[in-house]
C-alpha cells in the first residue's frame, strides 16, 4: 500500500489538541514510579532483614508520593476541587482508576513510612502490614500511568500503548533500585542492584520495541526537545546499568549508578511526554496514519 505523497491540512493547524498539562505531569510519572518501586524494595528489605533498605524505601516512597500529590493537584484548572475526583469510580477513565489506586496505596505507604520517623514509634507495629499492602498495590501505581497517557487521541501515546506499560515499570524499577544503590550500604543492596539493572534493561528494550511498533509517530521520539530527552535518557540509563553492575564494590560507582538511573528515569518520562505533545501539534501524525488505515480497508 502506498502512503499518500502529500497530506493536506487546514492552514497547517493541528487536528487534535495537545494535553493542557504542564511539566507537573511528567514529574508525577517519575515520582509515582519511584514511590512504587521504593515500596516494593522496602517490603522486600523488611522481610529479608535489611533495615536500611526498608527505612530508605519507605521514606523515599512517602516523599515521592507527597511530591506526586502536589504535582497532580497543582496541575488542575481548579485545584480547590481536587476531591471531585472521588465522586465517581470509572473503569473507562484511567485517571479515575489512578485516583483510586493512589487512594489505596497512599495511606498504607504513609503509615509504613511514618513508623520510621521519630515521634511516630507507636505506628511501628503497623509498619510491616501497611508496607506489604503498599507493595501489593505498588505495581499498579507504576503501570497505570502508561494507560493514562495511551488512552488519548495523542498519536505518540496511543500508538505506544503496547510497550508503554513495560517502559514505565522498567523506568520505575531502575529509579527505585538506583536510589537504594546510592543511599543504602553495599551489604544490603544486592536485590536493589538486580532490580535496577533489570529495570534499566527492560526500559531500554521496551523503548526500542515501541519505536518499531508505533508507526510514523515514532519520529517524535527522535526530533526536537523530545529527541533530546530520549537521547539523554538512553545514555544515562545505559551508564547507570553498567555502573550498577559494579556498584556493590565501589561507593563511587554506586552513587554514579544511582544518580544516572534516577536522572535517566526523569528524562524518559519527560521525553515520552514531550513526544506526545509534539505528535498532537503536527497534523501529519494524525492525518497520514488515518489515511493509510482507510486505504488499507479499501
Amino acid at each position: 500500500m502506498v502512503p499518500p505523497a502529500h497530506f493536506t491540512s487546514y492552514y497547517g493547524r493541528p487536528v487534535l489538541k495537545a494535553a493542557p498539562w504542564t511539566h507537573d505531569i511528567p514529574a508525577y510519572l517519575f515520582l509515582g514510579g519511584l514511590a512504587a518501586g521504593s515500596s516494593l524494595l522496602a517490603a522486600g528489605g523488611d522481610l529479608t532483614g535489611r533495615p536500611v533498605m526498608r527505612r530508605t524505601g519507605r521514606l523515599a516512597a512517602l516523599t515521592a508520593l507527597t511530591g506526586s500529590f502536589v504535582a497532580l493537584v497543582h496541575d488542575l484548572g481548579r485545584p480547590d476541587r481536587f476531591y471531585n475526583m472521588l465522586r465517581v469510580a470509572k473503569p473507562t477513565s484511567p485517571m479515575s482508576v489512578g485516583t483510586w489506586v493512589l487512594s489505596a496505596y497512599g495511606p498504607f505507604a504513609g503509615v509504613a513510612a511514618a513508623g520510621e520517623l521519630p515521634g511516630f514509634g507507636w505506628l511501628r507495629p503497623l509498619g510491616r502490614p501497611a508496607g506489604l499492602v503498599a507493595a501489593a498495590v505498588a505495581p499498579a501505581v507504576a503501570s497505570y500511568t502508561a494507560v493514562l497517557l495511551a488512552d488519548t487521541a495523542t498519536p505518540a501515546w496511543h500508538e505506544a500503548h503496547r510497550e508503554l506499560p513495560f517502559l514505565f515499570v522498567g523506568s520505575a524499577a531502575a529509579a527505585a533500585g538506583g536510589l537504594q544503590l546510592a543511599l543504602s550500604p553495599a551489604a544490603e543492596t544486592g536485590p536493589a542492584q538486580r532490580l535496577a539493572v533489570a529495570g534499566a534493561v527492560l526500559e531500554l528494550a521496551a523503548e526500542h520495541r515501541m519505536e518499531q511498533s508505533m508507526g510514523i509517530a515514532a519520529e517524535t521520539l527522535h526530533e526536537g526537545r523530545a529527541g533530546q530527552w530520549m537521547r539523554t535518557a538512553r545514555a544515562l540509563t545505559t551508564t547507570g546499568a553498567v555502573a550498577g553492575l559494579g556498584a556493590r564494590r565501589s561507593r563511587v560507582l554506586a552513587i554514579l549508578a544511582g544518580g544516572a538511573l534516577l536522572a535517566g528515569s526523569v528524562c524518559t518520562r519527560f521525553g515520552v511526554f514531550e513526544a506526545g505533545q509534539e505528535s498532537a501539534r503536527d497534523p501529519r501524525f494524525t492525518v497520514v496514519p488515518q489515511r493509510e488505515r482507510l486505504a488499507a480497508r479499501g
Binding site: 493536506t8 491540512s9 487546514y10 492552514y11 493547524r13 493541528p14 487536528v15 487534535l16 489538541k17 494535553a19 493542557p20 498539562w21 512504587a36 518501586g37 516494593l40 522486600g44 496541575d75 488542575l76 484548572g77 481548579r78 485545584p79 476541587r81 471531585n84 475526583m85 465517581v88 470509572k90 477513565s93 484511567p94 485517571m95 485516583t99 505498588a138 505495581p139 507504576a142 503501570s143 497505570y144 494507560v147 488512552d151 488519548t152 487521541a153 495523542t154 496511543h158 500503548h161 506499560p165 513495560f166 514505565f168 515499570v169 544486592g190 536485590p191 536493589a192 538486580r194 532490580l195 533489570a198 529495570g199 527492560l202 498532537a280 492525518v287 488515518q290 489515511r291 488505515r293 482507510l294
Partner: protein, 286 residues
C-alpha cells in the same frame, strides 16, 4: 435503526436523539452562528487576533470558541470534470474556490471525553448530547487530548467565567430542555446548520448528497453520518465538498477507549512483571 446513547447512559424513555446536520455547501461564512453561540451561552471573547488565514480569525474550536467558521481558499483544479461551474455552462470560472464550514462539537455516539472524565463532570444528556457540568469539572484536562477532533479545551483568560475548566458546545442544553432550537441553528440564515432528530437529519442529508451529485457536484460527501465508524457516528455531522482533512477534520477518527481493554491488559501484564521481578531479586542471594 441507530443506537441511542442516552439509553446506554441509563436514561429511561429519553426523547429522540438530537443533533446538527451542517450542510457546508450552502454556508456563506457569515459567522452568525459564532456570534449567536457567544451571545446565548455568554462565552467570553477568544482573542482579538488577525490570523492571516482568509476570513478565519478565531482559528479553532476551544474553551471560548464553541462554533468556528472555517474558510478554505483553493486554487482551481481542472480534472476535466465539472467542479465549480454548472455542467455545460460557459460562464467564467473564478480563480479560486472558497469552501466555508461551521465546525462544532460532534457529540459522538462513543465520546472519548466523556469516557475519560474522572469526575463525572461530562455527562450524556437525555437528548444524546455530551455536556460539561461546570460546577463539577476540576480542570484536570484529560478530556482535551482524548477528543479525536480537538474540540474540547480548558478555558483560558485571567478572571474569565469558568477559567481553567473544560468547556465546549452543549448543543444549547438549556434551550433543548425548553423545546427551542440551538442558538447557532436558529441564527443561520441559509439553513447550513440544521437542527433536529438525528434519524431525520440523516435521511435529509442522504437526499441532499444525491441532489448535489445529480447537479454535478461529485465531491459532495457526508462526514460522520455512519453509525459504524470509529466513534459510532456523530451527533453533529457534516456535508463536505472535499476531503475531511482539508477542513481540519480527521479522516478516520476512532474513540481511544475502543482499545482500553487491551491497554489495561498490557498494564496488568507489566504490573505482574514488576511484582515478579521484585520478588525474584530478593530470592536470588545476598
Amino acid at each position: 435503526m441507530t443506537t441511542n446513547p442516552a439509553v446506554d447512559a441509563g436514561w429511561a424513555d429519553p426523547p429522540p436523539r438530537k443533533g446538527f446536520f451542517t450542510d457546508t455547501s450552502v454556508c456563506i461564512g457569515c459567522k452568525a452562528c459564532e456570534v449567536a453561540c457567544k451571545e446565548w451561552n455568554a462565552v467570553p471573547d477568544d482573542g482579538m487576533n488577525f490570523l492571516g488565514s482568509s476570513y478565519d480569525n478565531s482559528g479553532e474550536l476551544g474553551g471560548s470558541t464553541w462554533r468556528h467558521v472555517k474558510f478554505i481558499e483553493q486554487p482551481p483544479v481542472d480534472l476535466g470534470m465539472p467542479s465549480t461551474t454548472l455542467p455545460g455552462s460557459e460562464g467564467t470560472k473564478t480563480d479560486f474556490r472558497w469552501l466555508m464550514s461551521s465546525d462544532v462539537c460532534k457529540h459522538c455516539t462513543h465520546a472519548a471525553c466523556l469516557d475519560v472524565c474522572p469526575t463525572g463532570a461530562l455527562f450524556r444528556t437525555e437528548f444524546g448530547t455530551v455536556v460539561v457540568q461546570e460546577d463539577v469539572c476540576n480542570g484536570c484536562g484529560y478530556c482535551v487530548p482524548a477528543c479525536p477532533f480537538g474540540v474540547i479545551d480548558k478555558r483560558i483568560g485571567e478572571g474569565v467565567k469558568n477559567e481553567g475548566l473544560a468547556q465546549k458546545c452543549t448543543l444549547c442544553y438549556d434551550r433543548l430542555q425548553d423545546g427551542l432550537t440551538p442558538a447557532c441553528a436558529k441564527a443561520c440564515p441559509t439553513e447550513s446548520i440544521q437542527f433536529g432528530d438525528l434519524d431525520e437529519l440523516r435521511e435529509r442529508a442522504a437526499q441532499r448528497v444525491d441532489q448535489l451529485h445529480g447537479a454535478g457536484v461529485p465531491q459532495a460527501r457526508l462526514y460522520g453520518e455512519d453509525p459504524d465508524d470509529g466513534v459510532g457516528g456523530l451527533g453533529a455531522f457534516f456535508l463536505l465538498l472535499d476531503e475531511p482533512e482539508v477542513y481540519g477534520l480527521p479522516p478516520d477518527p476512532v474513540v481511544t477507549t475502543r482499545d482500553l481493554p487491551r491497554m489495561w491488559k498490557r498494564a496488568g501484564l507489566a504490573a505482574a512483571t514488576l511484582l515478579a521481578g521484585a520478588i525474584a531479586v530478593f530470592g536470588a542471594g545476598s
